[in-house]
């Protein structure tokens, strides 16, 4: 089971954090700081996996963003890399060639997409088509409400 996922920039700024195991905020901050420092210090050709306490860390850099997951001893490292990749593909498809700014300005969308891919730290849906369909359905609901709101505001509801 995945314990948490962190997205951070090359400058060490945290962009997204998703915790599947409860920790006090103080601990979360410490873990985040430790991992960002450790990973930023590593060189490009190095292994994408490292041992960290009793967890395994799997990370990969996409352009200016690092994606970092903590998994348990029995979890599969290579497939965790591909969970990251699938998430990047989903973001890319949704935003249309995603960049760090998209995730900063639409962090809530980044969360909603992640929640369709993983639930409780386990892979929920690996089909790209199905995840995008679910996110599109959410957006549709919102848009309908927005129109509804527009009509109501103008006395047409």
């Amino acid at each position: 089971m995945m314990q948490f996922m962190l997205l951070f920039s090359r400058q060490g700024k945290l962009r997204l954090q998703k915790w599947y195991v409860a920790h006090p905020d103080k601990i979360k901050k410490k873990i985040t700081r430790d991992l960002i420092t450790t990973i930023l210090a590593r060189k490009p050709k190095m292994c994408s996996f490292l041992e960290w306490k009793d967890l395994k860390i799997v990370y990969k850099r996409y352009a200016s963003l690092y994606f970092c997951c903590a998994i348990e001893q029995t979890d599969n490292e290579l497939l965790t890399l591909e969970i990251i990749h699938r998430y990047v593909e989903l973001l890319d498809k949704y935003f249309g060639s995603v960049c760090e700014l998209d995730i900063i300005f639409n962090f809530e969308k980044a969360y909603f997409i992640l929640d369709e891919l993983l639930l409780g730290g386990e892979v929920q849906e690996t089909s790209k088509k199905n995840v995008l369909k679910a996110v599109a359905a959410q957006d549709l609901l919102q848009e309908e409400e927005a129109q509804q709101g527009f009509f109501e505001d103008h006395g047409l509801g």
Partner: protein, 809 residues
């Protein structure tokens, strides 16, 4: 500003832009505080705040939280949003709760009803939102509230597939905190049959749930074995077009395959020959596919394919029953050892470690020894080198131990600091385990101390001494070798310890040679004495007294050393005591008594190597339990024979330094001590020549022997300092830090505003009371004087402590 789909929140985007435009950290904090104040006042005052505005402000709070600031309000607004009729508001409410709220928050109770409503909605999007939230919080409250609904959603015939997927994982999460949530009986069969579901997404999610259930109760769910094998078989043999969107870069359903392979690792190999045959076919298919040319050059293709392959190899190793598959797995991993991808080399080294422990594949792993040694030396990434060291350790046996140990020793000279300590332990263990010739073992350990002395822990040098003492065939060689090693102009303190101990026991075996005559041995050791810590000096003093017994001709020189001020009047109580006791011993007793007291150490009981136990403690799970795994405490050798009657297993430090020499008497006398403050005396009566003799001996129990060092900060030190203001007695002394430390109180650094001053604290424990004691020593450099002030809760104790210190200086 990037375009936003759904319904954008302009105010949020503007705020984020503002923050990004801030030129400095201060400006950012200022902007955030302004926004927080604004939101707070909106939430407090403005009753007409509509859903959209609430949503916008809650989003801003979330953003501020993500920047790393603490958020302590807005929860109620989020709860309101969560129960809104509008999906866009509801979604943000849920997001805030799942990002910001911890499991034990009181807010959870407030949202349970809203979640219940959403869970029974006809719209699957609402249902899933509720389940994401339940899974994210995953508390016992949640389990109790939804323990009925979620299992029902999972197996009910009219639940949509997307909801089933979420329900399976949501249930898994709740099961982890509250195992009672899973109903037994007919549910078992319904749950495991989800492995047959049409929808691959449902099967994938269910496989995770089933694995957790199996771990909890393997017997109950063992029906899943055959279902998992047939599902796996269908998956791995399907072409990549069969599974449509569940094919990932030409690999059919890698996530499902890995989960099924993992699920099967919770059971022994299937008993049913049919199922077993089918499983072996699957595993062969996976191994065959690994040899096929890749269908794509993309790393995603090879990662997904190899993820399945590594999981299959894990299962083969777990089953440990098919020699053919084990050897094939080993050959496959061998190919990966020289792969271009660092990740693959890392994983191959890791997997091979497990293969090395199987009797079927141990020999096959050994074929790769050269490549692994190269990995240890050449890999750029220390974590990969670490893996290579692990594998060398695992593949080592009688046939290759000398070579592997030698290579590890060579590498140790340049190895990364982060892995040296572990490597030292591993080399020490291998040398001991596979030594047929113990002189080789002694050479290896002395080399370890020479190359990486700082990383040689006490256990390692205790162990070499234990082994030398237990094996008389190696004692002469050990004495000769340490003698030679000590000739080096700079040698590590650990070398002095081992050398001192071994020469003290077996120096006589090499004393016949003029080059290592008794006086030469003594001079050699004593030339290091002044460079060593007091613990090592204490050990050397014991060596010297043993020399008195072994070599009566140098008794005079040694007595002079005991008699030196730096020993017999040492500030270190242990050194002082040893010097005076050994001096007395050498002066008073007859040679017979001396020979008995200072006799050679008896053999240590044989037990599991203490270093192996240490490595296991450091790397739980990484050290195979192949040796007899008895839990044990390290039996520490103690150089003086009197302590052989003391329980050997309880003493963990070689010198017995951890036990204060006076502790035996504390219970009987410390009570009186407070009032009398005289050192207690012992009355010995006996009859000699029919005459009753009585002796009163004063015991060297001064009050400071009862100190317990006490940590405290500046505030509490001076608060107590003032409280204990009744007595202050200035005195002058030429003092040092060591003297204060040796006195037994805690020396507190960084407490006194004047860094030149020393302050100490301690508690004296007696049977009836505890006496707090504080001390302050203020040096005056111009006057070449010190001022010492002692305060304690008992006037007489302050005086006594002061007087004791006067004697000290």
């Amino acid at each position: 500003m990037p375009a936003v789909r759904g319904d954008g929140m302009r105010g949020l985007a503007v705020f984020i832009s503002d923050i990004r435009n801030c030129k400095s950290k201060e400006a950012e904090i200022k902007r955030i505080n302004k926004e927080l104040a604004n939101i707070r006042s909106k939430f407090k005052g403005d009753r007409t705040l509509d859903g959209y505005q609430k949503k916008k402000y809650v989003c801003k709070l979330l953003f501020i939280f993500l920047l790393g600031h603490d958020i302590d309000f807005g929860h109620m607004e989020a709860v309101n949003l969560l129960s809104s009729n509008k999906y866009s508001e509801k979604q943000i409410g849920y997001l805030f709760i799942s990002v910001l709220v911890n499991t034990n928050s009181d807010l959870i109770k407030l949202i349970i009803q809203s979640i219940k409503n959403d869970l029974s909605s006809r719209n699957p999007i609402h249902v899933n939102l509720a389940m994401q939230c339940i899974a994210n919080i995953g508390s016992k409250d949640m389990a109790e509230a939804f323990g009925y609904d979620i299992p029902k959603l999972l197996v009910s015939g009219d639940t949509m597939d997307v909801v089933k997927q979420s329900a399976a994982l949501c249930l898994l999460r709740l099961f982890a905190t509250y195992p009672e949530i899973i109903p037994g009986g007919e549910w078992t069969s319904r749950i495991i049959h989800l492995l047959n579901d049409q929808h691959l997404g449902v099967v994938t999610a269910a496989a995770s749930l089933i694995e957790a259930l199996v771990k909890h109760n393997p017997e109950e769910y063992k029906g899943c074995i055959s279902l998992a094998v047939s599902r796996l078989s269908r998956t791995v043999t399907s072409s990549y077009t069969d599974l449509q969107d569940y094919t990932y870069y030409f690999v059919p359903a890698p996530w499902l395959s890995v989960k099924l392979l993992r699920l099967l690792q919770n059971y022994p190999p299937p008993e049913d020959p049919g199922v077993r045959g089918r499983l072996n076919e699957c595993l062969e298919t996976i191994l065959n596919k690994a040899q096929e040319p890749p269908k794509s050059k993309k790393v995603q293709h090879s990662n997904a394919k190899n993820a399945v392959l590594f999981e299959a190899i894990s299962l083969i190793i777990h089953n440990d029953s098919e020699p053919n598959l084990l050897v094939r797995a080993c050959n496959q991993l061998g190919q990966f050892l020289s792969n271009r991808e660092t990740n693959l080399r890392y994983l191959a080294l890791e997997s091979m470690c497990l293969l090395a422990n199987s009797e079927f594949s141990h020999e096959a792993v050994k074929k790769h020894q050269e490549v692994v040694i190269l990995s240890m030396k050449m890999e750029k990434d220390v974590s990969v080198r670490q893996r290579a060291v692990d594998l060398l350790y695992a593949m080592c046996d009688k046939t290759n131990s000398e070579e592997i140990v030698q290579e590890m020793l060579n590498y140790l000279e340049t190895a990364d600091y982060s892995i040296r300590e572990e490597m030292v332990l591993k080399v020490a263990i291998l040398a001991e385990k596979y030594a047929t010739d113990y002189s080789w073992y002694v050479d290896v350990i002395l080399n370890l101390i020479r190359i990486a002395g700082d990383y040689v822990s006490e256990e390692v040098w205790y162990r070499v001494i234990q082994i030398v003492i237990n094996r008389d065939d190696v004692q002469g060689y050990a004495a000769k070798t340490v003698f030679e090693a000590l000739q080096a102009p700079a040698c590590h303190e650990n070398m002095v310890k081992v050398g001192g101990y071994i020469l003290g026991e077996f120096g006589n075996l090499i004393a016949g040679d003029q080059r290592s005559a008794p006086s030469v041995q003594f001079q050699l050791l004593h030339s290091k004495y002044h460079l060593c810590s007091s613990m090592t000096r204490a050990l050397l003093l014991s060596t010297y007294v043993k020399f008195v017994n072994l070599f009566p001709e140098i008794k005079g020189i040694i007595q002079n050393v005991f008699n030196q001020d730096s020993n017999i009047r040492s500030a270190d109580a242990e050194l002082q005591q040893r010097a005076s006791e050994y001096l007395q011993l050498s002066n008073i007793v007859t040679t017979d008594v001396l020979a008995t007291v200072l006799e050679e150490m008896p053999a240590f009981p044989e037990r599991e190597s203490s270093i192996l136990a240490l490595l296991k403690r450091k790397k739980p799970g990484r050290v195979p339990d192949t040796l007899e795994g008895k839990e044990e405490k390290i039996a520490a050798p103690s150089p003086i024979n009197s302590s052989q009657h003391v329980n050997n297993t309880a003493a963990t430090d070689l010198l017995g330094l951890s036990t204060p020499p006076t502790s035996v008497n504390t219970s009987s006398n410390s009570n009186d001590l407070v009032d009398v403050l005289d050192a207690p005396s012992i009355a010995i009566s006996f009859t000699y020549n029919n005459l009753l003799q009585k002796l009163f001996v004063k015991l060297p129990l001064t009050i400071n022997k009862f100190f317990e060092p006490t940590e405290m900060n500046g505030e509490s030190f001076f608060a107590r300092w003032k409280n204990l203001g009744r007595s202050s007695q200035p005195m002058d002394a030429a003092s040092t830090r060591t003297k204060l430390l040796g006195f037994g109180m805690q020396l507190l650094d960084g407490i006194d505003p004047n860094p030149d001053n020393y302050v100490c604290a301690g508690i004296i424990h007696t049977r009836t009371q505890q006496i707090g004691c504080l001390l302050r020593l203020e040096p005056n450099k111009q006057a070449q004087m010190y001022r010492l002030t002692v305060r304690s809760s008992k006037e007489s104790v302050s005086v006594e402590v002061c007087e004791l210190l006067v004697d000290q200086f």
